[in-house]
Symmetry: C2
Subunit: 261 residues, 2 copies
Amino acid sequence: MPTDFAAHIADLRNLGGQRVWSLMISLFGDLAQAEGDMIDGPVLSAIMNTLQVKPEAVRVALHRLRNDGWIVSQKSGRISRHSLTEKGRRESAAASPRIYAGPASHSEDWQVVLLRDTPADTLAEMETRGYVSLFPRVLFGPVSATAPPDAMVLTGDTIPAWVRDQAAPDTLRGSYAALHRSLADLSGALPPAPDLSAVEIAVLRCLIVHNWRRLVLKHPPLPRALVSDDWPGHRCHLLVVDLLDRFPRPELTKIELHQAA
Amino acid sequence: MPTDFAAHIADLRNLGGQRVWSLMISLFGDLAQAEGDMIDGPVLSAIMNTLQVKPEAVRVALHRLRNDGWIVSQKSGRISRHSLTEKGRRESAAASPRIYAGPASHSEDWQVVLLRDTPADTLAEMETRGYVSLFPRVLFGPVSATAPPDAMVLTGDTIPAWVRDQAAPDTLRGSYAALHRSLADLSGALPPAPDLSAVEIAVLRCLIVHNWRRLVLKHPPLPRALVSDDWPGHRCHLLVVDLLDRFPRPELTKIELHQAA
């Protein structure tokens, strides 16, 4: 491994959330989510080695993921081949829209909805439609999202800054800011994609997806109109989308060929 | 006094709020609010007699109102003449807009305002501009009423019934309903204004104003758009406006002439 690459990814590796089994869920979700996708043992070893995870830790994590029904391993001659189980694919697919979605248009139409009361199931249902709570009984969401029949539906022209500040998941501000710094440094320092090996790109993507999903899945999605342009989570989002676009997912067969060479 | 008239006003007299000094404030506010207006002792006696208040109670109330700086009495030959003090006129004038205002148009434009925070002085200030609280930090008011600069201003097309129900001062529902019953009966039973004496009209107006102000001044004014057509307070309002219009305030000099005759 080139020392340069190890230096590039050092920050992302050190951001926390380095439980190996969790890293491997990010890896399989990004690299091998489709039915039939498998990662050969030697490829997995090369990736985890680049991530500076020791072989023993990989074995322990694989054991745990098999026990939890996330991953299944098959022998094929002298090598093992690892793939997501149906449950693993289902869970990965459920999280993927949040993880890989680009930021919506800033100018999407929104509405504010006053609720008659707030039974927990109404709130949960509203959240799945894209609403977030501003105050008790006051929700904000896209105009396209149906409101309960007895809600008072309101619209407006401008959103004051304090409304955006209040809607932001403020406890994650520091974590998003740290991730943004790492991604910004990385974005400036990385060579063009063709100068990286397939394993390095797999590692790079794994670390980006892993650190991003650890934060973005901790809070409900915010309507774009409620997100300040300078919210660290939004600035992360732009860099994540850009980096995953600049360094496209390598084909599994290509990694295998590369390893076999 | 014709027995008929005593029967007409019996309900209103019995609704409560019959403290004599308070009745007299209603009377002076309705009949003699302008600077220089005076009510002669014999006229006051005739009115209070029609209200079935005993002379001794009138004397006690006058004494109290003079002591409190509401009313001043002057001797003019053998009779006393009573008038509001400057303070009494000021207080009457402050309450008159609420008491005598007609109901606003149902279709007046409204807005909902979300406040960044709610210091007590902001809320008080908003109330004087015609806003009422729907929820904490959520106010409803006319579009013409300026919102604080950092408020989120929202508009809508329809107001659900529960919003009106919630805004109504529900503890006064029963009192408004009782007053409405009395006013509705009265409205149907009263003869045309020319068939009543000036004293009777003064008494009638005094009782209407008195019972109305006792309720309407107990809660902040509601924007018309927030008032259901079937809210008893609104139905009272329509009858109060109609009755005061049908039985116009008699001129003080006319009452005096009538008494002197």
